[in-house]
Every structure is written in C-alpha cells, then in structure tokens.
C-alpha cells in the first residue's frame, strides 16, 4: 500500500491562515517550513502584492494573522513571513 504524505497539522494551520488573506486563494502559493528550534517561516506568493511595498506587505500579513483563527502559540512560533509576487518569486528562485 502506498504511504500517504504526512501533513504537519501546525504547518497546515499556518498555511490555511495565510491563504485566507487572499481574494483568490487558488492563485497564491504558501509554503510553511520549520526554522530554528520550534519556529516556523513562510513564503507567500501572490500577485495581490503587486505594486505594494515590502513594509506594507508585512503590515498586511501580520494584521491578517492577528485577526485570523490561528492559535496564539502558532502565531508566536511563526517568525518571518516572506511575501513575493509571482514575478519576484520566479526571479529570486529562478523557477521556470
């Protein structure tokens, strides 16, 4: 029997919370990963960041997360969210 990929429920909750900030969740990509110790980081890709500065993106992400249903301990563990548009993401990660 083929094994099912393991989904870390913590990562999935953060991922769902971040996806909830977009009008078109299907057009975004959210990757949540483990950082130092118990901490998590996330890459968020969406063209809804177009023409928006880096600081405004950070404000929007964290304002959304504070209002989301994300548990406080997960919010504490989430350290560093990195928002990109699709163009920026492809340029920085050289993804074709």
């Amino acid at each position: 029997m083929a094994s099912q990929p393991t989904v870390d429920p913590d990562l999935d909750q953060v991922c769902q919370a971040l996806k909830g900030m977009f009008r078109s969740p299907d057009d975004c990509r959210v990757e949540v990963f483990h950082s130092s110790g118990p901490y998590l980081r996330a890459i968020v890709v969406s063209d809804e960041f177009e023409n928006e500065g880096a600081a405004s993106r950070q404000d929007r992400v964290w304002e959304h997360l504070k209002k989301s249903a994300l548990k406080p301990d997960l919010l504490t563990r989430l350290f560093g969210v990195h928002p990109y548009t699709w163009k920026e993401f492809r340029e920085e990660f050289q993804e074709t």
Binding site: N51, Q58, T76, H82, F93
Partner: protein
Amino acid sequence: MGLGSRSTIGRQSLQRLAEERLKDFEVLCAGKRYAAAIYLGVYAVECLLKAHVCRALDLDELPETYRSHHLLTLLLHSGLNRRIQREPAVFENLKKLDGMWNPADEERNIRYIDDPVRYGETQASSVRVWMLNPKGGVITWLRSQL
C-alpha cells in the same frame, strides 16, 4: 579568545555601531536613499541583537560563530526570547523587520534587491516606526534591555 574561534567585535563597539548606523538611516532617509536607509536601519537592529548575545554569554567580544544576519537566531542566543514574547508589539515588529531583511532561501538574499516600489519612502517610514516607536519599537526595547 573564546569558544575556539577568532573573535570579531566587542559588545561596546556593537552598541556604538548600532547608534551610528541609526544616524545613517536618518541621513539617508533625508537624502531620499530609502533602500540603503532601510538596509542600515535593520543592520542597526542586528548589531544591537549581537550586543545582547555578548551580554547573555558574558563575552567581551562576539565570537565568529555568531556572525549571522538571522535575526531569529540572534534573538534565541540573546536570552531575550521569552521576554520579547511578553511584549507582543515588539515581537511583531521584529518579525516584520526580519521578513524584509532575511532571505526566504539562504542563497537568495532579499537584502540585495534594489526596488524603489518595495523599498521606498513609505517603507522607510514603516521601518522607522517598527524600530523606534516609543511603544513597540524594536530598538527602543532592545536599548532598554541592555
């Protein structure tokens, strides 16, 4: 010389360096060189965190081991991790600064991107608030903990 590695810079020097880079932040903002201003402003935060690492480890100089730009790693080694979590506004602002400062992927560093839309006057104003606001400013808080 500590921890079997070459020492780099002292705690007092790191504190002075942070204050100097903050002055540069203001001068560069006044000259509308916002990307460089943001770079040096967040670098000041990094320097203060490194000064705290020296304090926590009771070292006069920062070991090469801690030559990191990773604000989270520096926070963990500074001994301030629990204390900052009791100050949600400060912690949130540090996360925002880290989100602008650190690469999502270690090999592709966001600090080297020069984009006037992403790093312009508005962003520099936000960075100033995140760093220096009397309540919640990361540098304001880090200074108070030294």
